[in-house]
Amino acid sequence: MRDLAENLGILVSHRPLEVPAGTYNTRANGAHNTAGEIDLADYHYPRKMLVIITLGAADQSQMFPFPQATLQARIYSGTASGALVNLDKTFPVFFTPGEQIYEYETVRRYVNIECIVTNVISLYVDFAVVLVTDHARYGSMGSDD
């Protein structure tokens, strides 16, 4: 690797936010659009991407039976827009501050990082998802350029 910035692409899939229970799709928060998917054609069809999920805080209720807000991420993909029917990866549920990193090998054009925040009362989770993509191409050209 000669130059880090030249070899990598950075995409913030979920900007850091404090959110209640719900399902959050990639690029659907902050000022991003609400497409709920990433078109890898916009990013030179990366061959691999690091999916970095960072949990900053997860509320825990002091009420019996001490429900805990949790976060779980899943990677979906599809060959057509709006039809991401393939579940490629399910991350472990986590609820303590920390980080999960997964090297994802892309096989379909459209990708979504779905994040599910669960709890039984009004508890919040602070989290963010960053994608780091390589710039190697695949497809009809058959070589990197």
Partner: protein, 135 residues
């Protein structure tokens, strides 16, 4: 690049939290240590680091300023190597940092009102120093 994960290291310098007006230093939130610095010896002396600052939400008037500091000895980070543009809206800044000293800190200053943000570092695994080659 043959394998992305083998070539890169990832460190969540500041985890995403709704943060009040204050100064925040690398690795000082969440369950991380409170040393306020990163010893690059723990990360194979990366030659370059991508500093990824992401802001998700700002309360009215809230601002975020990021400085990258470094030093040759622990607890003496007297050099300011980079000052990123002040962030006043949700968005992302990515900066390629070339460290030249062993200890670094990413200092974030939240002013006026709360900002929800995070700082992630992506490092290469090429070494520098006495060995003079990658391994």
């Amino acid at each position: 690049m043959r394998d992305l994960a083998e070539n890169l290291g990832v460190l969540d310098a500041i985890r995403p939290v709704d943060s009040g007006v204050a100064e925040y230093n690398a690795r000082s939130n969440g369950d991380h240590a409170t040393v306020d610095e990163i010893d690059l010896a723990d990360y194979h002396y990366p030659r370059k680091i991508m500093v990824i600052v992401s802001v998700g939400e700002l309360s009215a008037g809230g601002t975020l300023d990021i400085d990258i500091e470094s030093g040759d000895t622990t607890a003496a980070l007297t050099n300011t190597d980079a000052s990123l543009d002040q962030m006043i809206a949700a968005g992302v800044q990515v900066y390629e940092y070339k460290p030249t000293r062993r200890f670094i800190n990413v200092e974030a200053v939240v002013a006026v009102d709360n900002v929800t943000y995070s700082v992630t570092l992506v490092m290469d695994h090429a070494r520098f120093g006495n060995m003079g080659s990658d391994d």
